[in-house]
């Protein structure tokens, strides 16, 4: 079985239980208050195998075989990234701003993201060194990465009937580390007589010297718009949305550097070969020698906003928290992170019984390639539901790439 065989097998599973679905789709009693907690964590890559990533995470010795395996998967389009997010959402009331169609909504979230795309030579330099490039150039660019962490408190309105909403949030930036290399040709002269870098790139980071929690302040909006329509003579639903469309203005002790020049490094300059006592090689000294010293000051960056759209088809289920769910969902999403490709997924939900619903699907994009989706949702009476989902079921198997888990808990009353 080739590497795409297993995902397709998962996709076929729902057809075996399709006949049960009609009998369980029914309206739920209305509630006026809803509390939902969503926690998700995922990393993915189209080239880095889990043994490498977990080795980096867990520590210890990374063998050459592990590093070489990912190296062998490299191509022109190497991507990786992760997301860690937790969000608590509360909606309440029968009316808001004087309109009965709306209710109030607030949310609190903590999110961290990393996205990168990188040249194969950048990986080779990082994991094998530059000796293999003796007397030739390594093409380190184009490469880019962005790592950002932030917290957000948001307030808004939600439409009762469709779940459409608009939120405006205040964002606290706690971490930024980002770089973009448009060109970086690193030439290593024989026996390292000198190293030359033809560099065009930039780097920015929030102040890491300060211990304070807030290193930048910003704002963002999130919205979801849902609209019912008829498609192929069936009820359908189109949903468009964005999350975290906004910015963070980082504090004035933030650091940045931009360079577009040819840098030649022949070693740190010493007063004399016989007077090296006390000569210390450190990062700052090296940076200054290369003319890559930081500039301190304010700057703003966009948040890694998520844009998405989906079409729901097939039988409709009304969840007790007001959500309308179709049996089939086709979704396209894109997050503003380096290395992130539009993520396309198709999911099918079917019910095992009154309390249990199962989701299977396929996805492609994001930081990875073809992935299998699996999910399970359990309702406890008319007030509680729990869901667990993975966007990468095969990631838990040996020899694959990426891992992803999502947990949801919802309470309505």
């Amino acid at each position: 079985m080739n590497k795409y065989g297993l995902p397709f097998l998962f996709l076929l599973l729902p057809f075996g239980v399709h006949a049960q679905e009609d009998s369980i789709a029914k309206a739920r009693p209305p509630h006026t208050r809803h509390l939902a907690l969503e926690v998700r964590g995922a990393y993915d890559s189209n080239v880095l195998y889990n043994d490498l990533v977990m080795g980096l995470y867990n520590g210890g010795w990374l063998s050459k075989e592990i590093r070489q395996r990912s190296m062998d998967a490299m191509g022109k389009n190497n991507r990786a990234g992760y997301e860690q997010a937790a969000k608590l959402t509360y909606t309440w009331g029968q009316r808001s701003i004087g309109r009965r169609i709306f209710r109030s909504r607030t949310s609190l979230s903590q999110q961290s993201y990393l996205g990168l795309h990188f040249a194969t030579d950048a990986y080779a330099l990082s994991f094998f060194g530059n000796k293999q490039f003796e007397d030739r150039s390594a093409q380190v660019g184009p490469s880019a990465f962005a790592q950002v962490s932030y917290q957000q408190v948001a307030f808004g309105l939600e439409e009762h009937s469709t779940g459409s909403y608009l939120e405006v949030g205040l964002v606290n930036g706690s971490r930024l580390n980002s770089g973009k290399i448009r060109r970086a040709d690193l030439y290593t002269a024989p026996a390292a007589e000198y190293i030359e870098v033809d560099l065009n790139g930039s780097y920015a980071r929030a102040d890491t010297a300060a211990a304070q929690w807030s290193k930048g302040i910003g704002a963002a909006i999130s919205l979801r718009w849902c609209h019912g329509l008829t498609l192929f003579k069936n009820d359908a639903r189109i949903t468009l949305g964005t999350e975290d469309l906004g910015f963070v203005a980082w504090a004035n002790r933030s650091l940045s550097v931009a360079k577009d020049s040819l840098i030649r490094f022949e070693g740190l300059t010493a007063d004399g070969l016989l007077d090296l006592d006390g000569l210390i090689l450190d990062q700052h000294e090296l940076q200054d020698s290369l003319g890559l010293g930081y500039t301190q000051g304010r700057f703003a960056t966009l948040l890694p906003a998520l844009f998405w759209g989906e079409i729901g088809l097939g039988r409709v289920r009304h969840a007790f928290d007001g959500r309308v769910k179709h049996a089939w969902v086709l979704m396209v999403a894109h997050r503003l992170l380096p290395g992130y490709r539009p993520h396309v997924s198709v999911k099918h939900e079917f019910h095992l019984n009154d309390a249990l619903a199962c989701t299977v699907g396929l996805a492609h994009g994001g930081f990875g390639d073809l992935r299998v989706l699996l999910g399970l949702e359990a309702s406890v009476g008319q007030h509680l539901s729990f869901a667990a989902e993975t966007m990468n079921a095969t990631g838990f198997l040996p020899g694959f790439r990426g891992k992803a888990l999502l947990f949801k808990a919802a309470w309505a009353w």
Partner: protein
């Protein structure tokens, strides 16, 4: 690498990930000039860029204590009734007063004046009288800013069986001693006054010839600031001794200088005429065990040295210059021995013609008789195996057990603009400085190309490699010391070569090594 850093940063208690890289990296670039071989302060350059070493080093020095020492001295003064008694004294009555002359034993010195730089006097009085006594000890001939020295001491009552003891110590710093005595016609003599009285607020005391007072006056640690008088005619023997010479420190091999000029400068800071008889001055190379005695006119015949001039509060030394060159001495061979020590032995006779100053010999605390050798060595030379060695502290991250650099090869790129070749050896040395492992293979950087005029016309390129294996890397992290030895040779040149201040050697040190990421943790 950013992703790796990020993932590693997520860890709290887990070990950091490690992997090895084969790294090629430039480390250091520098230029070696003559100023790096010889300290700039010793170098002089003429208009044509030719370089000379100008260096002065001390041959010997005779300080004040070889001429004048003031030994610790004690004097005792006793008082008792010359008849059986008893006799009564009313309160406030002085019952004994004596003015005496204290004569110091200073051998051949005849001092008329002494200014004390530091020192102290201790006065101890034993009282066997049954009453409160006031003791008054004074030195009328010792004054500080016009005030005579005086000590008043309250002596508690005592008995012959149980006397009371009272002591008082006073510094003498800055006191001017008139050593001519009370009549101003003696030497080494100091007027002294000692008296006793019944305390004014005490009671009448009755004493017999069994009751007595005993005073002991001790002078300690007297260091003269200035002394005036006749210092006597005597010969001071300076036993064989050595002084250290750093000019050729860490240098070995064979050096052939084209020309050397030198001057022996004898300075006399003492206010006495002197005659120096130099028994020997030797160039000592303790590394090779060779010594070369200096042969010159002054090493065979006594050298008369004039006295310094007293300027009132300081002095002006007399200076005697004796020029040495290859025509009148063996100074060239003396220096080519690359001495690290100078050995000497001599006699100095002061006042060889007697008291011709009429008692006006003088000295200050800083007065010295010194001899210096001032050398002028034009750097026109030939060198064979001339070796320069230095141990460097290398501040490497990590420990002997955990370090990032594992093994590799260091490459030394050189562009040599000196007219000599340089064989370079690197070695890891133990904490005690002993070489314990040589980094092979090393090699020789070729000499620059010389033109017909004997000057460099073209720099020469060279590259040396030094392999360092895992064991050597461990040793290096353990000791943190590297010894660099450079051996210079002008053997390719038939004649002496002239060094110019523009000559230099450009060096780059690079490393081809195996590096473990987070290996320092």
């Amino acid at each position: 690498m950013a992703a790796c850093t990020t993932l590693a940063a997520c860890q709290k208690d887990r070990p950091k990930p490690q992997w090895d890289l084969d790294v090629l990296a430039p480390l250091i670039q520098t230029s070696l000039t003559i100023g790096d071989l010889v300290p700039d302060t010793m170098l002089a350059t003429d208009g044509s860029g030719q370089v000379s070493i100008l260096h002065t080093f001390e041959l010997f020095s005779l300080s004040l204590d070889t001429v004048l020492t003031a030994p610790d001295t004690s004097f005792r003064y006793a008082y008792a009734l010359p008849f059986p008694g008893p006799i009564q004294f009313q309160p406030g009555v002085t019952f004994d007063a004596s003015d005496e002359v204290t004569r110091f034993d200073l051998d051949d010195l005849q001092l008329s004046k002494l200014i004390v730089r530091s020192g102290q006097v201790d006065v101890a009085i034993t009282n066997m009288m049954n009453g409160h006594i006031i003791g008054d000890f004074a030195l009328p001939g010792a004054q500080l800013e016009g005030e005579p020295f005086q000590v008043l001491m309250a002596l508690p009552p005592g008995t012959p069986a149980a006397p009371s003891n009272t002591t008082s110590s006073r510094p003498l710093n800055g006191y001017v001693f008139d050593m001519r005595g009370p009549a101003l016609n003696q030497v080494n003599s100091l007027a002294t006054h000692l008296s006793y009285s019944n305390a004014p607020n005490g009671s009448t005391i009755s004493i017999t010839n069994m009751d007595s007072l005993l005073a002991t006056v001790s002078y300690h640690g007297i260091v003269p600031e200035y002394a005036l008088g006749y210092f006597g005619m005597r010969t001071i023997q300076v036993e064989p001794a050595t002084t250290r010479l750093d000019l050729f420190e860490n240098v070995s091999g064979t050096l052939d200088l084209d020309q050397v000029d030198a001057t022996v400068k004898i300075r006399n800071g003492l206010g006495v005429d002197a005659k120096a008889t130099i028994h020997h001055i030797r160039s000592l190379n303790t590394r090779t065990g060779t010594e070369v005695p200096l042969i010159a006119s002054f090493t065979n015949n006594p050298v008369n040295i004039d006295r310094a001039a007293d300027m009132g509060s300081t002095f002006s030394p007399s200076v005697k210059n004796i020029a040495l060159d290859q025509g009148n001495s063996n100074i060239k061979q003396f220096l080519e021995n690359l001495p690290d020590q100078i050995g000497y032995a001599l006699d100095v006779t002061i006042n060889p013609m007697g008291n011709i100053s009429n008692g006006h010999d003088f000295l200050y605390h800083d007065s010295r008789v010194t001899a210096e050798l001032e050398v002028n060595i034009p750097l026109r030379l030939s060198a064979t195996g001339l070796s320069l060695r230095k141990v460097m502290e290398v501040d490497l991250p990590g420990t002997a057990d955990a370090h990032a650099w594992q093994y590799g090869t260091m490459h030394l790129f050189a562009q040599n603009g000196f007219p000599f070749s340089a064989a370079i050896e690197l070695a890891v040395v133990a904490p005690d400085g002993q070489s314990i492992s040589v980094l092979a293979p090393g090699g020789t950087i070729p000499s620059a190309t010389l033109g017909a005029n004997g000057l460099v016309t073209e720099m020469a390129d060279g590259r040396l490699d030094f392999r360092i294996n895992s064991a050597q890397m461990n040793l290096l992290h353990l000791s943190g010391k590297v010894q660099v030895t450079a051996v210079f040779n002008t053997a390719e040149q038939p004649q002496h070569v002239q060094l110019l201040d523009s000559y230099r050697m450009d060096l780059k040190l690079t490393l081809d090594g195996n590096y473990v990421v987070n290996g320092d943790e």
